[in-house]
Each structure stands twice: as structure tokens, then as C-alpha cells.
Amino acid sequence: MNDRVRQVRSFFVSMKLSVVLLVLGLVLVFAATIDQVNLGIWAVQEKYFRSFFVLWPVGRMAVPVYPGGYLIGGLLLLNLVAAHLYRFSLSWRKAGIQLTHAGLILLLLGELFTGLLQDDFSMRLTRDEPRNYSESYRANELAIVDTTDAKFDDVVAVPENILSDLRAVQHPKLPFRVVPKEYYPNSAIGSRPADPQAATPPRATQGIGLNVELTPLPITYKQDERNVPGALVELLTGDGSLGTWLVSADPRMPPQRFEHAGRSYTIGMRFARAYKPFSLTLLKFSHDRYSGTEIPKNFSSSIRLTTPDGRDDREVLIYMNNPLRYSGLTFYQASFEPGNDKVTILQVVRNPSWLVPYIACSVMTLGLLWQFGIHLFGFIAKRRNAVRA
């Protein structure tokens, strides 16, 4: 083996590297915690943990200033695996350390998979109204729905990033092109001033946009607020324009109907939806407070779960610390609307690697107990001998 290879090897198996990476990781976690005040929890995860480098804007450029979670985690993984392969030997004394680190490897991988695969959605249920989709907390979409057939809707959903890039879309199901003209990542809707003299002419030529206007807002990072994007969208056929619509993801703004070539459509922006092969219906929402206070004592939602094929049709009770796990999803009681006991808000999480941390942690705990147990018993035996001597 030549020197260069040996150098690389001893770099990757060294405990110094582990310590350096741990220190880097510690600083990263600390900085990410502090930055949550500015960015909120989601943006921080993307910026610090689900990235190779933490980027810092310098002028118009984003300059990498610090290793991100993927880089530190990846190197730590490499360091761990390399060190253990290199120094591996079967002995009871080392079993604790090996178990601990095996668990850690698993934990790091688990977090990687979680980062890649986990999805969070929200599901707002109104009493006695079945619902078969959940809504994204952050993503939005432009939905154009063919409602001609009363039995079913044909939905074409345009993701937000296409709108923000102002890219035109020609979908095979639609007899027209969708051309985003303007896009605002966060906005508010309000009525247009009644006096036509005072107002600038509406930019929309069809639908609600004739009476409603969009006010752009700065992007919010607060955890209890969401961005409400709005856009102006023109629909074009070979023969010319069908008009320009103003759309907003504000839930108060309903989809707007129009007719084209003998078919009926609606157009509107909405929170991105994930459809489920089953539906949930809220039967009863309960919320108790401690007497004489506003401190919540408990919340619970009694829910009916049904599948179209009729295989599942049962009642479930979701309450704090007791979620429903069904078809790879976890539904938990997340929120409610104050003063409205006909509505419940569930959070829906999909995390296929949810079992990994359990295994990893059991392995690590066992390893640590083993390792420190050896220390402790060694120490006690030594003391005993010392006292005797």
C-alpha cells in the first residue's frame, strides 16, 4: 500500500475526524436552532440539515459557508463505517461500542430516509362531510377541473414552481394552453374599489378578478402563518385568448367556472392535495377545558373511516397521544377552530422509515448500557481490591 492511500485511510478511520465532525455538527444544530427565529422550522431544515452546504447570500450569489447536515452526516457515516471495518474484532469488551455505533449508523440512515421520504399534510374535516384528500402545509397548485360529467371530475393540477417560473403548460387533457402571466408567492385578496375612476383597470378579464384584486405580501416564515400565493393566468387556444383569470390559494376564493368548446371547467388555486384511497368523516369533535380556565384538558375526534370497496367501515377515536395509523399514514389531532366544534384539524404524516429509529435506539441503548456497565463493574472491582489491600 502506498503512502497516499495509507494517509487517506488513516484520515477516514481516525477518532480525531469523529470529534471534529461532532463539533461541526454541534455548531450546525445550534446555528439552526437560533435561525428558526428568522426562518421558521421548515426553511431551517432545508437550509441546514437537508443540504450539503449552508449557503449565505453574498450579493446575488449564494456562497457555501458551512458544511450542511448531509455532508457532516455523510462523513460521520463514512468515518464510522471505515473505523469499524478497520478496527473490527470480535470481543465482549468491544461489543458495547460496536452496538452503539451500529445503532448510530442506522439512526443516521433513518434520518436520511426520513428527510427524503417524509410528508406532512393537514386534513380539515367538517362534521358529516366525508373527505378523501389531505392538503399540503406549504405547497399549492393551480387546479383546472373538467366538470362536464356530473359523475366525476377530471383534474389537471399545475404545481406551484411552474407558475413561479411563469412557464406555459400544454396538457394533453386540456384543449388550451395555460400561460401564467404574474405570480406572487404571498398575497392578500381584497375587493376592488367601487369607484372605477380611482382604480387602475383590472388585470383579469374573466371571473372574480374583475371585482377582486391581489396585493403582494412579503414571504412569511412564521410557524403559525402560511404563504397564500396568487397569480394571473391566461388560457390560450390556437384561435386566441380565452381570457385572463385572477387566482389565489386563499380558501375564501372559490374555483371559477367557465365554458369552452361545449365543456364546463373550473379554474382556481388551492393548497396542494394528496388524494387517499379511503375517506374520513368527522362524527364528533370534543374539547374540554379545566373548569374555570382556558387550559385545554383534552381534544378528541370521533371519525368514521370508509373505503370505496367497503372493506373498511369503522369508527375510530383520535385524541392527544393516540393517533390513527392507517395505510402507511399517521393521523393525529393537531388543531381545531376555536368556537367551532363542527370542525377538526388532523395532521397526516407519511413516514415509511418510521420503524428505523426504534431499532436503532434499542441497539444503541443496549450498547451504551453494555459499555458503561463494563466500566462501572471494573471500577467497583478495582475499588474493592484497593480497599482490601
Binding site: S14, M15, K16, S18, V19, L22, V23, L26, V29, F30, A32, T33, I34, Q36, V37, I41, V44, Q45, F49, G110, E111, T114, Q118, D120, R289, Y290, S291, G292, T293, I295, P296, K297, N298, F299, M320, N321, N322, P323, R325, L329, T330, F331, Y332, A334, Q347, V349, N351, W354, P357, Y358, C361, M364, T365, L368, L369, F372, H375, L376, F379, R383
Partner: protein, 615 residues
């Protein structure tokens, strides 16, 4: 003498504790303590009036001790009785703490006008209350996170005044000197009065005087019920819902519907009469009757109220704080003279203080029906308890007074922190729905808090190493080696507990929310402690640090743990909120600075150390 000294200290400590456990005595013939044991439902919990008195005083003025303008010391319950029943006197008691100079300026007051230069009476504040209200309204529009220190001080004082108003309206109408007479008259005339009001409403001939008296009474009750949150009237005998307590005002309003004055509300008016007239016979008889009536349905809560009152009077955590401080000094002196006798005495003091703290924590657990740690206050108690427990183990192995010094310091410091945390009100709070899970509170929270205890303890042992080594000649090789082994062992323990605790938290999160890890500040804080301990162990195993490096890193553990314990909470409210003016934030920064200074001292070259020098 030397031989018997430890035993003497032990006997004195036990006697001191025994003395605090005696039932509280009434200052005069009136059974104020009997009244203090009566139950009231506040913030969702049935508690004795005694607790209301003490936590109100802590909230208003940061201490339980209070006196009249004539300098007569009052027991907390006497003070509360005056607030309830002789408000015209209580309004002259100086029990509102104001330290912000700009807030004093609102009232055109100077610090010297106040008792202890910071406590003022309602009468002193009265003339400018309207201005305070205006300021509070302005401050209320500002998001809590970005209020200035003035705005926060205004909000706090305003909150305290509201609290005081709630107390004044809790049992009787504060502006009626003979409320009992009012109620007895009402009892006799309620039928006729209600008829007169109905007739007036229907535009029929009626007794105008009776109708007017009745409406006035009704308005008074409405004010009472709207001005208080204290539910003092137990549910009626036939009410199956034992939590359906009412405020006195609400219960009195029922009079117009039922035709009879609620007996509990009437009893409170009776208490008021007896207290104002100074009639022990009537007062004490009412206490007995009231209790006897409640015992039928509330036997268990009454028993808890009795225990809680005794617990309040004994103040176990204050006793244990005193003993920790004494133990700290005895153990310190033992390094200079009488190592055996003083060392053993310090050990016994720590042991007694720890047993008292254990009993205190156990009592709180029983009262609340919860595992030991349910809020920040109880976490401070538990961290101290855990650290001192570990110290006792160390001290019984090594017998070199190091464990006792650390126990004294950590025990005292954590109880001091707990005392400051208790100033925001009753520390036995109801659990919010999210946290309502005894299983996870008992596992995750307890284990992670034990991890905090161990990390702190390792840090304090390291401080002993550095301070003794640099500033004294007392750190010989044997002691240094023993300390190194102690710190190493405790760091191992800390790693295990903080890791397992953090993981259990993740499992709780997964069980309730379907996600294991969410990178929120508190989770990150716990993770940082685990990483820090892992860094110490790996640096040690990899030969990157020796004894001194171990000590310096262990002191760093104090910083990391304090960040996780308090720093992350400040972040939760918004980093700006605590600015550089908030006391808690300043304390945290000062602590971090002191630890950094110690690390710097620990890094001084060995030749500047007074120990380890060749003779």
C-alpha cells in the same frame, strides 16, 4: 469533641427540620389556619386558600412575607383574609413590587416612597390607575415577543392589579361593609323583590323601592362574578359534576332563580362579618360547619388541602436550601482543618437536606398525581435532587468532601432557581392536553432531566478541580486522580441518560405525532447535550485530552445544558423578546460568561497553578 461533632450537626439538622414540621399556630383566637385549609378551585385545581395566599404574594411582590403599615407582620393567610374581607385596610398594605423607574414615574412615585424601596400599596397607585390602564392597552397591542422592558413591566403590574381585583371580588362585595346584612335582607325579600322587578318590566303597578334594591343587588353580583376567576362555591349536593364549582357572584345570582341565597356564599359573608368584627367564636364555628358540609363529597380533596397547607407551612425546599448552603461551607472548611469531622458533618447535612427535598418532591407528586417533572419549576427541583443523589454516592465512595461541596453548590443553586421560577404563581399547574401522559412524563422527562443533573454535576466537579488546582495547593495527585475518575464516570452516566432520554422523547413524538424528530429548539437542545458528551468521551478515548481537557470540556457541559434548559425556552417566545434586559436572559448570559472564564482559567499553563508545583 471532634468525634461527636458530626453527630451533633446531624442532631441539630434533624431538630431544625422537625421544628418546621410542627403544625402552624394561629396568631390569635381566630382559626385563620382552619380557613386556610378550606378548598377553592383555581386554574383547574382544587387547592387550599393558604396556597392562594402564598402564591399571590409571591406573584405580587416576590416574597411571602408581608406586614401592615404599622409594621405588624402578617401570616399569608391573614393577609388574604384582609384582602377578602377588609379591603379598605389591605389597600394600604404595600405589596405591589415595582422596580422599573419609568413605571414608578407613571405614578409620580419615588423608590423611597415604597417599603424596601420597591413595594407600594394600592392607595399609592390609585390616583394614576387610569394612566396605567392606558399604557397597558398600548403595550397589549404590541406582540409579546417584541415588547420593551417598560411595556413588559407595565403588563406585569397591570396583571398583578387584575389579580388583586380578582381576590377582592372573590368572596364578598368589597364595597359593602355589611355584606352579611345585605344577604340576609335579600333572603327575606327575594320573592317580593323579584315579583316587583317582573311587574316593573311588565309595566304594572309595583313596589319601586323593592325593585330598585333588587336590581342594585343583582348588579353588584354581576360585578363580583365578572371580576373574579376564583371558584369558591362547591357544586350543589345533587350536582353529579364535582368540578362544577362557581364563583361567589355567580352563585349569588342564582338566588333570583331559586329564591334562596346559596349557603356557601352566605357562609363567606358570615366569615367576612366575623373577621371584621373580630369574633373568634363565630368565625371558628363557621370553619367547622363549612368543612363538615364539604367532607360528605370532597373528603379526598380536603385531605389533600390539609396536606398542602402543612407542606406550604413547612417550606421543605427552603429548609433544604439552608442545609445545602451550610453543608457547602462545612465541606469547604474541611479541606483546611478537621477533614474527617467536618467532612462527615457536611455529608450528614447533605443527606438530611436531600431527604427533605425527596419528601418535598414526593408530596408534590402525590398532590398532583403526576410524575416528578411537569414544568420548569419542578425540573429545577428534580435536577438538584438528581445531582445531589449522585454526589451522595460519590461521597460515600471517596469520602474526600468533594461530593459534599458539589452537592451543597448544585443543591443550593437549583433550589434558588426554583424559587425564582415560583414567582409566576402556583407551581402545581394542570397539564395541557398535549402533555397529558403520565407514562411519557415518567419516562422521557425524568430520564432526560436526570441527564441534565449528571451533566451539571460533571461540570461542577470540574470547577472544583480547576479552582482548587489553580488557586490553592490542596489539589494533590490522589485528589486530582479521584476527581478525574469522578468526572469521567459522571460523563458516562450523563451520556447514557441524556441519550436515552432524548430518544424516549423522539418515541413519544412518533407515538403522538407520527414523526420521530422535528428539529424543534427543545429537541435540538437535548441533542446538543448528547453530542457534547459524545465529544468529551471520544476526545478522551482518542487521547486528544487528558485530565485538564476533560475538566474544561465538562465545564462546557454546564453551558450546553443551561442552553438546553433555559435558552431554548427563551427562543420559543421569540429571541427578541428577552432582549438584553430580561432578568432570565441576563442571568443566563452571566452564567455562560462565568463558565467561559473558568475554562480560560483552566487553560492557564500548569506552572501558574498553585497545585502540582514541585515543592
Amino acid at each position: 469533641m471532634k468525634k461527636f461533632f458530626p453527630l451533633l450537626v446531624l442532631a441539630l439538622a434533624v431538630a431544625f427540620i422537625g421544628n418546621t414540621l410542627r403544625p402552624p399556630r394561629n396568631p390569635a383566637a381566630i382559626d385563620v389556619n382552619g380557613f386556610g385549609r378550606l378548598p377553592v378551585l383555581v386554574n383547574g385545581r382544587i387547592k387550599p386558600f393558604d396556597t392562594v395566599a402564598r402564591s399571590s404574594l409571591l406573584q405580587l411582590q416576590g416574597r411571602q412575607s408581608v406586614s401592615t403599615p404599622e409594621k405588624r407582620k402578617l401570616q399569608p393567610i391573614e393577609w388574604l383574609l384582609d384582602v377578602f374581607f377588609r379591603p379598605e385596610l389591605a389597600d394600604t398594605y404595600q405589596h405591589f413590587e415595582i422596580v422599573h423607574p419609568d413605571v414608578l414615574a407613571i405614578f409620580s412615585l419615588k423608590a423611597q416612597d415604597g417599603q424596601g424601596e420597591k413595594r407600594f400599596s394600592l392607595s399609592q397607585l390609585q390616583p394614576r390607575i387610569a394612566e396605567l390602564q392606558r399604557q397597558a392597552k398600548l403595550a397589549d397591542q404590541v406582540e409579546a415577543a417584541v415588547r420593551t422592558s417598560f411595556q413588559r413591566a407595565v403588563m406585569q403590574l397591570y396583571g398583578n392589579l387584575v389579580h388583586y381585583q380578582r381576590l377582592r371580588h372573590a368572596l364578598v362585595a368589597p364595597d359593602r361593609p355589611d355584606f352579611l346584612g345585605d344577604l340576609l335582607k335579600l333572603q327575606d325579600n327575594v320573592k317580593a323583590g323579584v315579583d316587583a322587578v317582573r311587574a316593573r318590566q311588565a309595566g304594572q303597578p309595583h313596589d319601586e323601592a323593592a325593585a330598585k334594591a333588587m336590581t342594585e343587588m343583582g348588579e353588584r353580583f354581576v360585578v363580583m362574578s365578572e371580576s373574579t376567576t376564583f371558584l369558591v362555591v362547591p357544586p350543589a349536593a345533587d350536582d353529579p359534576d364535582l368540578t362544577a364549582w362557581k364563583s361567589a357572584g355567580a352563585a349569588l345570582l342564582d338566588t333570583f332563580r331559586t329564591g334562596t341565597v346559596n349557603p356557601a356564599a352566605l357562609a363567606y359573608a358570615g366569615f367576612a362579618h366575623a373577621w371584621r368584627e373580630g369574633q373568634p367564636g363565630q368565625f371558628n364555628q363557621l370553619v367547622e360547619l363549612f368543612r363538615a358540609d364539604l367532607t360528605k363529597r370532597f373528603a379526598a380533596p380536603l385531605e389533600k388541602c390539609n396536606a398542602e397547607t402543612r407542606f406550604n407551612a413547612a417550606q421543605p425546599f427552603y429548609s433544604s436550601m439552608t442545609l445545602y448552603a451550610l453543608a457547602f461551607f462545612l465541606a469547604l472548611i474541611s479541606w483546611l482543618v478537621w477533614p474527617d469531622a467536618l467532612g462527615r458533618a457536611a455529608f450528614w447535612l447533605v443527606a438530611v437536606a436531600w431527604v427533605v427535598a425527596t419528601a418535598g418532591i414526593a408530596t408534590r407528586m402525590w398532590l398532583e398525581g403526576r410524575p416528578p417533572v411537569t414544568n420548569l419549576y419542578s425540573s429545577a427541583l428534580f435536577i438538584g435532587w438528581g445531582s445531589v443523589g449522585l454526589c451522595l454516592v460519590l461521597e460515600s465512595i471517596y469520602r474526600n468532601a468533594i461530593g459534599s461541596v458539589a452537592a451543597g453548590a448544585v443543591g443550593f443553586a437549583t433550589l434558588l432557581i426554583a424559587h425564582h421560577l415560583s414567582l409566576s404563581g402556583d407551581t402545581l399547574e394542570m397539564m395541557r392536553a398535549v402533555l397529558d401522559s403520565n407514562f411519557w412524563l415518567a419516562t422521557h422527562v425524568v430520564v432526560v432531566t436526570a441527564g441534565y443533573s449528571a451533566t451539571y454535576l460533571a461540570g461542577f466537579l470540574a470547577i472544583i478541580y480547576i479552582v482548587r488546582g489553580v488557586f490553592t495547593r490542596s489539589l494533590d495527585r490522589t485528589t486530582a486522580d479521584a476527581l478525574t475518575r469522578m468526572v469521567y464516570g459522571i460523563v458516562c452516566f450523563a451520556t447514557l441518560f441524556s441519550f436515552v432520554g432524548t430518544i424516549l422523547g423522539g418515541i413519544w413524538a412518533d407515538q403522538s405525532w407520527g414523526r420521530f424528530w422535528g428539529w424543534d429548539p427543545k429537541e435540538n437542545g437535548a441533542l446538543i447535550i448528547v453530542i457534547w458528551n459524545a465529544i468529551i468521551l471520544h476526545a478522551r478515548w482518542g487521547g486528544m485530552i487528558k485530565s485538564r481537557g476533560l475538566m474544561n470540556l465538562a465545564i462546557g457541559g454546564n453551558i450546553v445544558t443551561s442552553w438546553s434548559w433555559f435558552g431554548t425556552n427563551m427562543l420559543g417566545v421569540g429571541l427578541h423578546s428577552y432582549g438584553f434586559t430580561d432578568a432570565a436572559f441576563v442571568a443566563l448570559i452571566a452564567f455562560v460568561a462565568s463558565q467561559l472564564a473558568l475554562i480560560a482559567v483552566g487553560n492557564l499553563p500548569l506552572r501558574t497553578w498553585r497545585s502540582f508545583r514541585p515543592a
